[in-house]
């Protein structure tokens, strides 16, 4: 019950302050150079970087951990690492590729340290809602599309919780590839650079990761 409320809260809270919109790929280069130059504008430039990428980093970390509770702490750890190591970024790859590499590694390290095998099942969810929860897997819209807004939001929160629970049971290399593809929409080449593996490996990890995830979700639906 507590987890339900926490998840609903995580989805429902409004973002803290306006997110920065990336007008141009060069914006981030300017912010990084301003930050590295130091002085009074440096911290403001770093804040702009944080505001631009925090949504994606929090989502990636949450999906990697399968739990929103420690995700904020880990996401902040990611930005602390970026702050400390930004001088080592050489503009040889896209900044977000470098950032997601840090995010996935930090999340994997955290998972190793605090791995818990708490299974998220569909306990406490009425039979009538189960079909709607996983309607996507069967390729149909199910009942979710016809629901009233509060009910739909609650269902989406539960669905997100279940997907995160299932993701947690997918081995980390496959999970990282799937999360980076489906939550950040990086290209396969960028995912390869972020995870340090060749293109063929990225393709097979995404494919196998989704297949494993599908089996886990279907098992949850049946249990």
């Amino acid at each position: 019950m507590e987890r339900d409320l926490a998840d609903t809260k995580a989805v429902a809270v409004t973002s803290c302050g306006p997110a920065e919109t990336l007008r141009d790929a060069d914006d981030v280069r300017v912010w990084i150079e301003t930050f590295l130059a130091g002085g009074t504008a440096a911290e403001d430039a770093f804040s702009r970087i944080v505001r631009t990428y925090r949504d994606r980093v929090v989502s990636v970390v949450t999906a990697m951990l399968g739990d929103p509770d420690p995700a904020e702490d880990v996401a902040q750890e990611v930005f602390l690492k970026v702050h400390a190591n930004l001088s080592q970024f050489r503009f040889e790859s896209r900044f977000d590729t470098w950032l997601h590499r840090i995010a996935t590694r930090t999340a994997v390290d955290h998972t190793r340290r605090f791995w818990s095998r708490r299974r998220v099942a569909l306990e406490g969810i009425p039979e009538s809602q189960r079909e709607a929860l996983l309607s996507g897997i069967a390729g149909s819209q199910g009942r979710g599309a016809q629901m009233a807004d509060p009910e739909r939001r609650m269902l989406e929160a539960k669905r997100a919780r279940m997907v995160r629970g299932a993701l947690r049971e997918v081995p980390a290399p496959f999970r990282a590839a799937v999360v980076l593809k489906d939550l950040t929409d990086l290209s396969y080449e960028e995912i390869g650079r972020a995870l340090g593996c060749p293109l063929g490996t990225v393709e097979s990890r995404i494919h196998r990761g989704r297949a494993i995830l599908r089996r886990k979700l279907e098992r949850m639906l049946r249990s």
């Binding site: 803290c16 999906a63 897997i137 997100a160 989704r210 297949a211």
Partner: protein, 157 residues
Amino acid sequence: MTTTACRTIRTRLSAYRDGALDRSTSREVAAHLGDCTGCREELSGIDAVARLVAGAAVTVPSGFDERLRARLSARALAEEAWARRGRLARRSSLLAAAVLVALLAGLGPAIVRDPRTGPPSITDDQNLNLVLFGTADLEDTGGPSPEGLSRSEDRSE
């Protein structure tokens, strides 16, 4: 029915769905999907899973930026304290080294010049030479050679 072609095609379905295949492979997959219901269903399942993951995105908790700023400030303070401690430690080490050098500079000559406190090996050799040959100034510091010893015995005769 799943054929060998189906098994091959299915390994490429995620990449096909994500638009990551080259044009000719993509056309090959599309042609197979046109004829194969099983692979179309497989693709539909993959697409559904991808959409479910995309739907698991979360919004940033309220106060995220403020808490991050507080952690950055705390870390900067800790680093400054650590750097201060390092500077203090370096200064203390330099001071200790300076004192040691000063002590050695002051006592060193006395140690070297005073035969009573000189290095034991030199004093022992000098004493041995004095006893055997009546002089401490032999060129071989390792002691008398057998020839020297025999000459000394000859002299005594």
